[in-house]
């Protein structure tokens, strides 16, 4: 083939690709123009301060609180430009692992650590920093039930679906809860997380709390063996976004996602029966109600809290705290210096006070006062070589 010919052909191909790309790009731009409320804070990055006493802190862990923690790190950096905090959302288990091995300055986890996990990391403490809810999402639009229609569920029905015992949408158990709806005779596809996740922990913690069968055969964990996978139609998807996308894509499916991933998406969101017997949809208010129902100041030495199936008329039952993991005696960590330890303690102090005002915009409920007091006690007990880092 002559060289000239080759050149001409390559030019032709490049032109072709540009045309295809431009057409496709233009199409998708117009197709998505009404769907642009993506979270801004996710893409913001911290700018490195160039001060002579620059401090750089590294954290890693749960993806669930990541939008809020990343918002905090940005806001805190504008207040104190010499302090840079980087948070790496690698998953709760990854956060636990890294803080146990002391490769990060702080970790984050949605699931409270088990006693065995705490034994692996002497001196590790948990500090609840925000709370969120898990929404039940479904897609029955192809069967004539709009996404704005609220379907009612109980814990027993959800357990039945994920155990593969309730396999049709028009099952009497679901139909009885929703007498005004004409539920279709369609197979239920139960979507769950394929990766380990704090969201799965919260969901299975709830099912274990309300259904003794679930508790004894499946239990609560960041990843469980879903009975529905063996006996009926279960599907595993990666990440909250994966579950939301699979539900949106699969007619007749149901799934559980963090509330922020259900809001604004083309999904139906169900109401769940709470301990008081009311059907409640997840919202900032109903999640805050669940947290507020646990009164009294908890023990700052062990802040592992369970707020699933909480009391209160308007409490959403599938709510969970999410935790910052850090060492009480910070000089235990090889990479920690006194100035870093102080900066981290002060950042967390700011996060549980001023930082809470950024929570509602990202659909996290602000911490109730009793938890803030417990967190304050915990933060004042932090030390570096025996010296308190925060004094009141």
């Amino acid at each position: 083939m002559s060289n000239q010919n080759t050149k001409r052909n390559v030019g032709l191909v490049v032109l072709l690709i540009i045309i295809i790309a431009a057409t496709a790009g233009g199409y998708s731009y117009y197709a998505n123009i009404g769907n642009t409320n993506t979270t801004q804070s996710m893409t913001e990055t911290t700018s490195t301060a160039t001060s002579n006493e620059a401090v750089s802190i590294l954290g890693a862990g749960a993806t669930f609180p990541a939008p809020l923690i990343q918002k905090w790190t940005v806001e805190y950096n504008t207040l104190y430009p010499w302090i840079t905090i980087n948070y790496n959302p690698i998953g709760s288990g990854g956060g636990i692992q890294q803080i146990t091995q002391k490769t990060v300055d702080f970790g984050a986890s949605d699931a409270p650590l088990s006693d065995a996990q705490l034994q692996n990391a002497t001196g590790l403490t948990l500090m609840p920093e925000t709370l969120g809810g898990v929404a039940i999402a479904y897609n029955l639009q192809p069967y004539g039930i709009a996404n704005t229609t609220v379907i009612k569920f109980t814990g027993d029905v959800l357990a039945g679906i994920y155990m593969g015992r309730i396999t049709q949408w028009n099952d009497p158990a679901i139909q009885a809860l929703n007498p005004n709806l004409q539920l279709p005779k369609a197979t239920i596809t139960a979507v769950h997380r394929s990766d380990g996740s704090g969201t799965t922990y919260a969901f299975t913690d709830y099912l274990s709390a309300v259904n003794s069968d679930w508790k004894s055969t499946v239990g609560r964990s960041t990843s469980v063996a879903w009975p529905v996978d063996k006996t009926a139609t279960g599907i595993g998807a990666k990440g909250n976004a994966g579950v939301a996308g699979t539900v949106a894509n699969t007619p007749g499916s149901i799934g559980y996602v963090d509330v922020i991933y259900a809001a604004g998406k083309s999904l139906g969101i169900g109401a769940v029966k709470n301990a008081a017997g009311n059907f409640v949809v997840p919202s900032l208010q109903t999640i805050a109600n669940a947290a507020a129902s646990a009164t009294g100041t908890p023990d700052p030495k062990d802040l592992r809290l369970h707020i699933v199936n909480a009391a209160g008329d308007q409490s959403y039952p599938i709510a969970t705290y999410t935790y910052i993991l850090l060492y009480k005696e910070m000089s235990n960590q090889p990479s920690m210096t006194k100035s870093k330890a102080e900066a981290l303690a002060k950042f967390l102090w700011w996060a549980i006070h001023d930082g809470q005002k950024y929570a509602p915009d990202l659909i996290y409920a602000p911490l109730p006062q009793n938890i803030v007091s417990a967190d304050e006690q915990l933060l004042t007990s932090l030390t570096y070589q025996g010296q308190a880092l925060i004094t009141r």
């Binding site: 083939m1 390559v10 690709i17 990854g94 596809t189 990766d195 996978d229 595993g236 994966g242 894509n249």
Partner: protein
């Protein structure tokens, strides 16, 4: 003077090791060392699991890493099954297409179309796997569910292979996406080996009155077959280790079912999904290492089989230039 020194240098090079020789040797040894370290790490990491589960790990069908009571119950068979089945589907679809593409580009294509078609096929190889996954989840899955799977079920639904509910997420979709991903690998190697088939071979068969198809069938393909098998082995290696795109469309369920419509899992997808959540559960982590070891072994055996096949064919006639 130049004329005088040149032959002497050339003579030395072939006898005594010099810097160039040393550099190349280091490069070759480094590869061996990396492979050895890799294998050592896999075996070392799997030790606890190998000891606890033994051979039962290979045939176990349960995957319960965090049971409510007692130690984890882990078996690799669903993941092995999913890996083998999706790879087979991918090869069944990709090998004929790759061969067709390669033959078209090497034998039939008008010059004007040759370069663009090579360019476009090779572009497919440059697309990152996660992009294939995204496209798979949002475009291919609904398409398979609404068109391909329903048709298969209507016409071939009596076979267990095409029974059961069709969500679009499952082994068949994973196989299709893998096929698309390995076509460029298979076809470019095949095209190269077909292009080096000597002209005399073609001219000989044409001179005997063969049509173009007969010429390709009797002269080109037999001559290039060792290279074609090498291309298939390369594509297979790529398919069995593919992670991200498969994870996004296979449905991630530890289940062995005859139906290709149903969700399953593969060895790489299990590792990718679960490695972040193994803290404080050493047996679980060790089991994931053992899965990696199994994948290593499968890939090794497949390569070995390919090598043996190539040597066998070479003895019965074929090209020495290739592979």
């Amino acid at each position: 003077m130049q004329r005088h020194t040149l032959p002497r240098r050339a003579g030395k090079k072939s006898r005594r090791p010099d810097l160039f020789w040393a550099l190349l040797s280091v490069a070759a040894v480094v590869i061996l060392i990396i492979t050895a370290i890799n294998l050592y790490a896999l075996i070392n990491g799997s030790a606890a699991s190998l000891r606890y589960f033994g051979l039962g790990f290979l045939v176990g069908t349960d995957w319960v890493p965090n049971p409510p009571e007692g130690p984890p119950l882990l078996g690799a068979l669903p993941a092995i099954y999913g890996s083998v089945v999706t790879t087979l589907i991918a090869l069944l679809l990709a090998v004929p297409i790759s061969l067709g593409v390669a033959l078209f580009q090497a034998e039939l294509s008008p010059r004007r179309l040759r370069t663009p078609s090579i360019f476009l096929i090779e572009l497919l190889a440059a697309v990152p796997s996660v992009v294939y996954g995204l496209w798979g989840l949002f475009v291919l899955v609904p398409f398979m569910r609404d068109h391909v799977n329903t048709q298969l079920k209507t016409w071939l639904g009596f076979l267990p292979l095409f029974s059961g509910p069709t969500n679009g997420l499952g082994m068949l979709t994973a196989g299709v996406i893998l096929a698309i991903m390995i076509i460029p690998y298979g076809s470019s190697v095949m095209r190269e080996v077909i292009a080096v088939v000597p002209r005399s071979q073609r001219e000989g068969s044409l001179a005997l009155g063969a049509t173009r198809w007969e010429m390709i069938r009797t002269s080109v393909i037999p001559y290039a077959r060792t290279g074609i098998i090498a291309a298939i082995v390369l594509a297979l290696g790529r398919a069995i280790g593919e992670t991200m795109a498969v994870t996004m469309v296979i449905g991630n369920v530890a289940r062995i079912s005859p139906s290709l419509f149903l969700p399953a899992e593969t060895i790489p997808s299990v590792i990718a999904n679960e490695f972040t959540e193994v803290a404080g559960n050493d047996l679980y982590l060790s089991a994931l290492f053992e899965l990696g070891l199994i994948l290593f072994a499968i890939a090794f055996l497949m390569n070995l089989a390919g090598r043996i096949l190539i040597t066998r064919l070479r003895f019965t006639g074929g090209s020495d230039r290739i592979a």
